[in-house]
């Protein structure tokens, strides 16, 4: 089963929920940190990384000896990543989406592919937990291909927990697509609610069952709960504001280590998710 943990608004507690859920379960668990722009789970899981892979994407390279300056490459490129200027062809590799169109269209076979670094994927494990995270190269604009590289580590024989990035656009979709359940972590504030509605819109486009965790559940107002009730979205966990939790987080400590009574809550959270996702599976 794949559980993707998302939120819409940033800073609501995705990483807290993802890491504590992952270490609370006895089953074989994989935690994939797909927030590759700002990955944080490794600051809490803190295990020795055994493997680092540099992830690249193909980009064009032009052999000017063969090029006839016909301009077809610039014509097919939707991303303005290759342009004929005067007597030369300029590839802007940072803009390239790696579709291969320019190479395919070139009548002189003057274009080959080299690579651009997207970032790194790191992997480590401890006992039954496998942990993988992606780290986008600073300056790189495109995170979805790196997210897909992290997700290639998904193993069907394990429970996969994905820590997704904030927002509702392509990186979030890349982190939720194909999941069996999306757990949305929110806070009961106007910003939390507004961005939660957007996130639920994204989950519904993908047709995945979802549930809520309300973090800092005693700050703000009641509108998130009223909305959940109206939309028939189950609230699976509430975490009240507790300065001890906030301080543990600030140091990189896990909630279940500082307040061990929370472990049972995370186990129950998983049982509830399994029940909902299981019901959906048998229905389809």
């Amino acid at each position: 089963m794949i559980i993707s943990i998302a939120s819409g608004k940033g800073g609501t507690g995705k990483t807290t929920v993802a890491t504590n859920l992952a270490v609370s379960l006895d089953s074989r668990v994989q935690l994939l940190d797909c927030d590759v722009e700002e990955p944080n789970a490794h600051l809490f899981i803190r295990l020795h990384m055994e493997e680092t892979r540099i992830i690249t994407t193909p980009v064009p390279e032009v052999d000017m000896e063969k090029c006839s300056l016909c301009g077809k490459c610039g014509e097919i490129c939707q991303f303005r990543a290759i342009i004929v200027i005067g007597e030369t062809v300029l590839p802007f590799v940072e803009m390239c989406h790696s579709c291969g169109g320019c190479m395919e269209v070139c009548p002189e076979k003057a274009i080959t592919e080299t690579t651009r670094e997207l970032g790194r994927v790191e992997r480590g494990h401890r006992n039954g937990l496998e942990f993988v995270y992606g780290k986008l190269r600073v300056g790189e604009a495109m995170s979805p291909p790196l997210i897909r590289s992290v997700r290639q580590y998904t193993r069907p024989d394990m429970l996969t927990i994905i820590d997704a990035p904030p927002g509702t656009s392509c990186p979030v979709i890349a982190s939720m697509k194909g999941a069996d359940f999306v757990l949305l972590v929110t806070e009961p504030t106007p910003f939390g609610l507004h961005d939660l509605k957007l996130a639920i819109g994204a989950v519904r486009i993908l047709g995945i069952p979802c549930g809520l965790v309300i973090n800092r559940s005693d700050i703000g107002d009641d509108r998130v709960k009223a909305y959940a009730k109206e939309e028939n979205i189950p609230v699976l966990m509430e975490i009240p504001f507790d300065r001890r939790i906030a301080e543990a987080y600030s140091r990189g400590d896990m909630v279940v280590d500082v307040l061990p009574e929370w472990k049972e809550n995370f186990i129950q959270l998983y049982r509830d998710i399994d029940k909902i996702a299981g019901a959906k599976r048998s229905a389809s």
Binding site: N40, Q78, G139, P166, I205, S250
Partner: protein
């Protein structure tokens, strides 16, 4: 014209609350919400929308089943596995590269322009505002950020205002890159946590990469004094201006719940006083 962009790396550190507070203090300015993916500034600003425009960007392939001979060339060429065995394009997987459309021997693939959001010009009680809404699950957020900043600049020129206050997105990817270019400076709002520090370091590297001067302020400073100090030490080492500390103050949440800036809610609160000090240093530093 000067433009200050508030970014954070990590989400939820207080970017929007602090930008809204600045809006209460700045005299003549245009507001710009460049967090188009999960825009929240309008929840405080309560904009009166004057202009509404579609945001059109990017294309998606659509196969015309009447013309398609199922030759399979498009499936061979598509690097996104976006075309199913029965030759239907998955619009979410489609990257909009147009390769299938270009090469289809039957000209059976259309490639229409997408409407992937809306953008607005509004009036608010703090002055004019440019903002946008990217459609859910859409791409091209960077282009919408660029557009909304251009609209903000245009508004400022028309109204003879010399400051643009821009609320940026979290992260370090495409929309953040689009929100930095050409800015006078970025203010990185972070929090004293291991995540806040890690993410602040990465986003400050990004600003340095694009040669945009950066400043940093630590929100909820008293949550962890050691982490707060470590952030400030890192900043000084990199010649990033440290703009002061904001205490953990529940007034920020209470103000947000009422749709007010912290100055409208309680201008004498500790949080408000700290933000005021930062704003004064900032305006002096940039002669605004």
């Amino acid at each position: 014209m000067k433009e200050i962009v508030v970014i954070s790396g990590k989400g939820g550190t207080g970017k929007t609350s602090i930008l809204a507070a600045f809006a209460s203090l700045a005299k003549s300015k245009v507001l710009c919400d460049a967090d188009v993916d999960a825009a929240d500034l309008h929840l405080i600003m309560d904009p009166d929308i004057k202009e509404r425009h579609d945001f059109e960007s990017g294309h998606t392939a659509v196969i015309n089943q009447d013309k398609c001979t199922q030759c399979g060339l498009c499936r061979d060429l598509c690097r996104w596995n976006a075309i199913s065995e029965d030759f239907v394009v998955d619009p979410i997987a489609c990257e909009g590269c147009g390769v299938c459309h270009y090469f289809c021997p039957e000209e059976a693939i259309d490639f229409p322009l997408n409407t992937c959001g809306e953008w607005f010009i509004s009036d608010t009680r703090f002055g004019p505002m440019a903002h946008a809404r990217l459609g859910i699950a859409e791409e091209n957020s960077g282009k919408l950020v660029t557009l909304i900043r251009q609209q903000g600049q245009k508004l400022a020129e028309e109204k003879n205002l010399d400051l643009l206050l821009t609320d940026g997105p979290p992260g370090i990817g495409c929309p953040v890159i689009a929100s930095l270019g050409g800015a006078t400076a970025v203010l990185i709002v972070t929090e004293p946590t291991v995540s806040g520090r890690h993410d602040m370091e990465r986003v400050s590297e990004l600003a340095a990469f694009f040669r945009v001067p950066s400043m940093v302020c630590v929100n909820k400073f008293d949550l962890n004094l050691d982490e707060g100090q470590a952030i400030e030490d890192f900043a000084r080492e990199r010649q990033i201006r440290v703009m002061g500390r904001i205490p953990f103050d529940p007034v920020f949440t209470r103000a947000m719940v009422q749709g007010k800036t912290i100055f409208e809610y309680d201008g004498h609160s500790e949080g408000a006083r700290a933000v005021k000090k930062i704003w004064e240093d900032l305006t002096q530093g940039f002669e605004m």
